[in-house]
Assembly symmetry: C2
Homo-oligomer: 219 residues x 2
């Protein structure tokens, strides 16, 4: 599988545009934990994920984190090239959550394509709208959902991503995904454990009663 | 002043495109309080504000509100035509906060222009990125800022919009802007009043000590 089959609007580009993109492209492998983009400090370029998993998060002045969205195979990461959009005025950090293979499309190259090609501009629009929807969903969660539901939803989502019930996660990591403090997560997980929903061990959470977690999430 | 001078990329449209837009356009006057768009229930079209003020907000299942952003003269409201973007999966309600004069661009018409014209698609992109930035700002406020700072910031913003210190606002209205309960706002405003920062009366809040409110906001 090559770039062409991963880039959904490939066939809508002209042949010279296709050539420019293939010439400008670089391939990269990054390890789990690698920082790919750091707020407004850099303008890395657009990242197209071949395989792996990225996490986009924001940081408070005090160093607290919250995961804004995640990117998986075939996803295009736009905000690592946010300098190309004048109106983007927030800083997102992007790190690899798993070992990841990706293509980098240079910002200026993509920007030129966007300016000359309506399909590229509209594709970019759809991606932004999708991320926007994820952020709105997250905001609704933060505003109207209690933390127990959010922790239950997070554990079930993790389990779906990992394809198993034993999750290698520290309380700190969960707190950083959900924008809260470690102590708060520890208390919540102990409550879940008391209810028989999970089993806690050093650096892991095992889901024991998926049904109850789902009931809690959907309540 | 006519539509042409309010639509920033007018000169980037072809003459036939300009004709189509002028033919499809409707003008409307709405009164303060009018509901212009109601979540996914309708696809009103794009709204270009000639004069006035709109508020975009989301609603919880229990009927709680939070203001997501506001639109002023010359702003284009995209999400009243969110049906044109497949990836938009959230419901925004839009109401007139003041008597408002606006133009409505039919959704299908705009969508066609977007598909054929890179400038229109890129302009749409910039607007979405600007709204995205406002939402990210709001999320950071909700996550990391305490409510006293948010109330102070809201009062100062209102005062800047209205151009005066006497704000005609109920506690319920402030709560609906900030996504919280009336009782919480009442308590906070009484605290502000005790500190000499505001004077409360039925249906109004008067800013007495702008400096202290600014210090609180920026702390």
């Amino acid at each position: 599988m090559n770039f062409q089959s991963y880039f959904p609007i490939w066939s809508k580009l002209t042949v010279p545009q296709q050539t420019r993109i293939l010439t400008g492209l670089t391939e990269r492998s990054v390890q789990k934990g690698a920082l790919l983009h750091n707020g407004s400090a850099d303008c890395t370029g657009l990242l197209l994920i071949r395989s792996g998993q990225l996490r986009a998060y924001i940081l408070s002045d005090e160093g607290r984190e919250i995961t804004v969205y995640r990117l998986f195979d075939r996803d295009l990461c736009l905000f690592s090239a946010s300098c190309m959009l004048r109106s983007v005025q927030f800083d997102i950090t992007i790190e690899a959550e798993k070992d990841t293979e990706l293509w980098i499309i240079p910002t200026e190259l993509y920007q030129q394509l966007m300016e000359e090609s309506a399909p590229v501009a509209n594709y970019t629009n759809e991606i932004m709208a999708a991320r926007f929807s994820e952020v709105m969903w997250l905001m609704e969660q933060i505003l109207w959902k209690s933390l127990d539901k959010r922790v239950a939803a997070f554990l079930l989502e993790e389990s779906a991503i990992e394809g198993g019930s034993l999750l290698k996660l520290t309380h700190e990591t969960i707190a950083n995904h959900l924008g809260t403090h470690r102590e708060v997560i520890t208390r919540m997980l102990r409550y879940f454990q008391g209810e028989g929903m999970v089993r806690l061990a050093r650096g892991s959470v095992e889901l024991l009663d998926r049904k109850s977690l789902e009931l809690l999430r959907d309540a």
